[in-house]
Symmetry: C2
Subunit: 199 residues, 2 copies
Amino acid sequence: MSQPATDPKRRPRGAMRQRILDVALQLFIDQGYEATSLREIAERLDVSKAALYYHFEQKAEILIALHLRLHEVGLHVAKRLDDLDTGADPVKAWLSLLDEFIENLKANRDLLLLHQRNMQAIRQIVSEAHENQAEHEEMEERIRRVLSDPRIPLRTRVRMGCALGAVIGTLLDIDSMFAGVSIDELAVLVREAARDLLA
Amino acid sequence: MSQPATDPKRRPRGAMRQRILDVALQLFIDQGYEATSLREIAERLDVSKAALYYHFEQKAEILIALHLRLHEVGLHVAKRLDDLDTGADPVKAWLSLLDEFIENLKANRDLLLLHQRNMQAIRQIVSEAHENQAEHEEMEERIRRVLSDPRIPLRTRVRMGCALGAVIGTLLDIDSMFAGVSIDELAVLVREAARDLLA
DNA sequence: GTCTATATTTCGATAGAC
DNA sequence: GTCTATCGAAATATAGAC
């Protein structure tokens, strides 16, 4: 009903939309969302500013679209959070959450970088967009809840947080930290360190 | 010669300047540098926009002043980095660097938050201000150099990075992670975890 | 779908009185 | 040191032709 009535096999559907998102993602990571103008995005794509408005009603929608991409990717990690809520050994569950997270990070480092470097803008825009629906609870929120769960000893919770911090700190900004080392090689070592932390 | 000719004992010297910096710091942390207008800062201080320009020639100077504050604070940590360069046991040196860092973080969490959340803006503005002088090498740069030093086994370097990530990840955004736990209590546990990581 | 205008708003910054 | 008033630039967004 709501799908466009064109042949679904005719592929370049929304191709321009994707190109916009790709360029915006790079610029938002490098300069930040607020510091990036639609003019810049349009110039890189060699189209006019107005062309962008055919694909997105507002600038904020570009950021939201990218944020949603990350959200889909994060669903697997969220599943592991459910395990944590439903009993089971929290340390074990956390370790497999970290594994899932590392895989996600390897495959979508740019989206996570976007999130890390534009949290303020994303928070503000998303909260305005959903108004008060509360709809999907943010993964961060759920992580915070686990780390505040009094049923888990504080010492353990802190180490869970440390392990997560270690993963993010070493694998996300890899280029500026361990330039030249492959991410896979790093991931193995970090995973091992996280395990030691929670042993 | 260049000092103002007023009585140096008459204290509220630059009091307004400090109030501006304090308000700006809070807003830059909450909303980001680019998303914060001088109008907002002026409103919070209940002065006019133009008043701000008596104390700072440009908006960017406010950010630079805050960045310099952080720089002074970071000098102690930088000393520990020297130890790392001049031989000695890198693991031991790293641990005492982390201790110094944790103390700094406890005393100046807001400045570090500012830095973490406005890296892009700071980088761009600072690089424009110093043009090509290269003057003071940024601490991050020095940390990266240590973590790339081939004389230290990769496994050790990764763990050094993990330990730093653990400290930052758990102690910097403390309010959103371990709400309700005192930072001192947390710091003890994180310090211990870092030591285990590098054991 | 993309273009050339243009409207509208807001921002950083300045001039000059007090 | 602070104000009012204003400037010029740049940003988001829209109108309407093609």
